[in-house]
C-alpha cells in the first residue's frame, strides 16, 4: 500500500471547483513532483492534504490511516509535515530555538515534568535539533535570530522546522521560490540527501518546471484542478497536453 493516497479528492469554494477528483498514490522513498501552471489548484491540493483546508469530498489516507478531516497538528503527528510558501518561522527565537520548538510532536514529558523537570529530555532534543541544523548546513547561524537570516536561509529554516517533527513524508511548497541559482542548487541537493541519507519521502509542489525536472523521478501534472497526467520527467516534458497547459497560461518557461 502506498504511503500517501488520495481518492476522488475534491474541493469546492462557493460554486467554484478548485480541485476535482484527484487520485494520487505516493510510495515510500519517492521524490514526487506536483506541477501545474499558476492557478491550477496546486496550493489548494497542498492545503487539503496537510489539513489546512477541509475536504469537500473524497479521502486522504496516510500510512494506512485516514487523515482527511483531521487538524493539521494531528496530521503532523501522524508523520506528514508541510512547509510554507511564505517565510514561516517563529520570529524573535534563534534558529536552534525554532527547531527545538518544532520538536513538539516528539516531547514525552508531562506538564509538571516540563515545568519543574531536570531538563534531561531537553538536552536530547537540543542534540537532535543541532543534527538537523548541521544536515541543512545552517550551523553557522545556529544562534542567530530567525528574522535576521537571509531570505534563502529563512526558507531552509522552514525545512528544518518541518524535519524537527521527525516526519515520514515531507511536503515542500515551492521551496526555491525567490532563490538565486546557488541557493536553489543547495536546496535541491538537500532534498535528494533527505531521501538518500534519511530515507524520507518527499513531495515537491513547484511552479518552476526546471527545478522539478532536475530533482524528481516521477511527476504529477495538475491543470484546472484535475490530474492531467503522470510520468517521468521526460514523458512530462514531451507531453502535448502539458505543453499546451503551460502555453495557455502566462508562464511559459519550459
Amino acid at each position: 500500500m502506498a504511503l500517501l493516497e488520495t481518492r476522488g479528492l475534491t474541493k469546492r469554494f462557493a460554486g467554484l471547483v478548485a480541485v476535482s477528483d484527484v487520485n494520487l498514490s505516493i510510495e515510500t522513498g519517492e521524490i514526487r513532483g506536483i506541477i501545474g501552471p499558476n492557478g491550477a489548484g496546486k496550493t489548494t491540493l497542498f492545503n487539503l492534504i496537510s489539513g489546512a483546508l477541509k475536504v469537500s469530498s473524497g479521502s486522504i489516507t496516510f500510512d494506512g490511516a485516514k487523515v482527511s478531516g483531521k487538524r493539521p497538528s494531528h496530521i503532523a503527528r501522524a508523520g506528514l509535515v508541510r512547509t510554507f510558501q511564505r517565510n514561516a518561522m517563529f520570529p524573535s527565537y534563534s534558529v536552534l530555538e525554532n527547531v527545538i520548538l518544532s520538536r513538539h510532536t516528539e516531547v514525552k514529558s508531562n506538564f509538571f515534568q516540563t515545568i519543574f523537570g531536570t531538563g534531561h529530555e531537553e538536552e536530547a532534543h537540543r542534540e537532535r535539533a543541532r543534527e538537523i541544523i548541521r544536515f541543512l548546513e545552517l550551523d553557522e547561524h545556529e544562534n542567530d535570530l530567525a528574522e535576521n537570516l537571509s531570505h534563502g536561509h529563512q526558507r531552509i529554516l522552514g525545512i528544518a522546522n518541518a524535519l524537527a517533527t521527525e516526519p515520514k513524508l515531507i511536503m515542500l511548497d515551492e521551496p526555491v521560490a525567490g532563490m538565486n541559482p546557488t541557493e536553489t542548487r543547495m536546496v535541491t541537493d538537500h532534498i535528494r540527501r533527505l531521501r538518500d541519507e534519511w530515507n524520507m519521502t518527499v513531495v515537491l509542489v513547484e511552479h518552476d518546471m526546471r527545478t522539478v525536472m532536475g530533482t524528481c523521478e516521477y511527476i504529477s501534472v495538475i491543470n484546472f484542478g484535475e490530474l492531467l497526467m503522470e510520468g517521468t520527467p521526460d514523458q512530462v516534458a514531451n507531453d502535448k497536453r502539458v505543453i499546451e497547459a503551460y502555453l495557455g497560461s502566462d508562464d511559459y518557461d519550459l
Binding site: 489546512a52 510554507f84 518541518a162
Partner: protein
C-alpha cells in the same frame, strides 16, 4: 553572561528582603495597600499567560471572582481553613475557565474579545440572579479573614506575610511555565499559528491550557481578596475593573513576566497619588491607556529595555538560549 547569572538571583533576594522588611516600618494603612498590591501582582501576571497566546480575554476578573465566591461559600458555610479555601478556589476558577474557554477557542481576535466579555457577564449575572447561595446584587458579607493556629489574619501584618508567601510561590510557578517549553509554545503559536499547527502543535488545546492556567492563578488572587475584604460583590468583578487590569498590563507590557508587574506598581503609585482628583481619576486612567497604546505600545518594560541597552551599549532584542 556570567555577570547576569549572578545579578539576577541577587536582585530577587534583594526584592524579597525588601518585601519582608517593608511592612515592619509602615503604618497599617500602607500594609493594607501592600496586601492588595501583592494580590494584584498574582492577578496581572496570571492575565499575561493567555495574553501571550494572543487571547486578551475580558473575562479574567470574573474568573478571579469565581475564586472569591468559592472562598466565600467554603469559609462561610463550611468553615474551611484558609489552607484549603485558597487551593480549592484556584481549582474551581480553573474548572470554570476550562468550561468558558471550550467555546471561546473557536473564536480569535475580536470574536474572542467580545465572546469572552459576554461569557464573563453570564457568570456574573448568575451571582446577581441567585440570591441563594450567592447573595444577589449586594453580594456576600461576613467572610472569615482566616487564621493559622493562634494567628488571626484580621491583623494586616500576619496576613501580609501569608499573601507574600502565596504570591512568591505563584510567581515562581508562573515564571517556570513562562521559561519552559510550554510557555515558549504559547508565544510561538501566537507568532505563527499556521506554522505551529504544521509542526504538530494543537493550537486550540494550547490556547485552552493557557486560559485555564491563567484562571487557576486568578482564582488564588480572588480567594486572597475575599479573605481580606470579608465580602464579595458582583460589582468588584465587572467590566470597569477589567479595564483597570488591562491598563496595568498595557502600561507595563507583556514581553516578559516583569512587564505587568512594572505596570501594576506604576499605576498603583499613580492611583494613590491621584486621590485628590476624585471623580476625574477615571479620565486620567483612560487617557493613560490611550497614550500608551498610541505612543508606547511596548509599555514601560520596552522603554526600560531600550534605556538599559542604550546605557550598556548592547544590541537590542537579545534572545539567546
Amino acid at each position: 553572561m556570567t555577570a547576569r547569572r549572578w545579578t539576577f538571583p541577587l536582585f530577587i533576594v534583594a526584592v524579597i528582603a525588601v518585601l519582608a522588611v517593608l511592612p515592619l516600618t509602615s503604618r497599617d494603612y500602607s500594609v493594607e495597600i501592600y496586601i492588595l498590591l501583592l494580590i494584584n501582582v498574582i492577578l496581572v501576571v496570571s492575565y499575561r499567560i493567555p495574553a501571550t497566546t494572543g487571547d486578551w480575554a475580558l473575562s479574567h476578573v470574573v474568573l478571579m471572582g469565581c475564586g472569591a465566591y468559592t472562598t466565600a461559600l467554603l469559609s462561610k458555610w463550611y468553615d474551611l481553613s484558609i489552607f484549603l479555601t485558597v487551593p480549592l478556589s484556584a481549582v474551581i476558577a480553573g474548572i470554570v475557565g476550562l468550561i468558558l474557554v471550550t467555546p471561546l477557542v473557536r473564536t480569535r481576535g475580536f470574536g474572542f474579545f467580545i465572546a469572552s466579555f459576554a461569557l464573563g457577564e453570564f457568570v456574573r449575572l448568575i451571582w446577581i440572579k441567585f440570591r441563594y447561595p450567592f447573595g444577589g446584587p449586594r453580594g456576600m458579607i461576613g467572610i472569615p479573614n482566616g487564621e493559622i493556629g493562634q494567628i488571626d489574619f484580621f491583623e494586616p501584618l500576619p496576613y501580609y506575610y501569608f499573601v507574600l508567601v502565596v504570591a512568591l510561590i505563584s510567581l515562581f510557578i508562573m515564571y517556570r511555565i513562562d521559561r519552559s517549553r510550554i510557555g515558549k509554545t504559547f508565544v510561538a503559536l501566537y507568532k505563527d499559528e499556521g506554522l505551529a499547527e504544521a509542526v504538530g502543535i494543537d493550537v486550540p488545546r494550547y490556547r485552552a491550557m493557557a486560559f485555564t492556567i491563567g484562571a487557576f492563578f486568578a482564582g488564588i488572587a480572588g480567594s486572597l481578596l475575599a479573605h481580606r475584604l470579608g465580602a464579595v460583590d458582583p460589582k468588584n468583578f465587572d467590566i470597569n475593573v477589567m479595564v483597570y487590569l488591562i491598563i496595568w498590563i498595557v502600561v507595563g507590557g507583556t514581553a516578559t513576566i516583569w512587564g505587568p508587574i512594572m505596570g501594576l506598581v506604576a499605576m498603583t503609585v499613580v492611583f494613590e497619588w491621584s486621590r485628590p482628583l476624585l471623580e476625574w481619576r477615571p479620565l486620567l486612567f483612560g487617557g493613560t491607556l490611550i497614550f500608551f497604546l498610541v505612543f508606547l505600545p511596548g509599555g514601560l518594560e520596552d522603554l526600560f529595555f531600550r534605556i538599559r541597552d542604550r546605557i550598556t551599549g548592547k544590541r537590542s532584542g537579545g534572545g539567546t538560549v
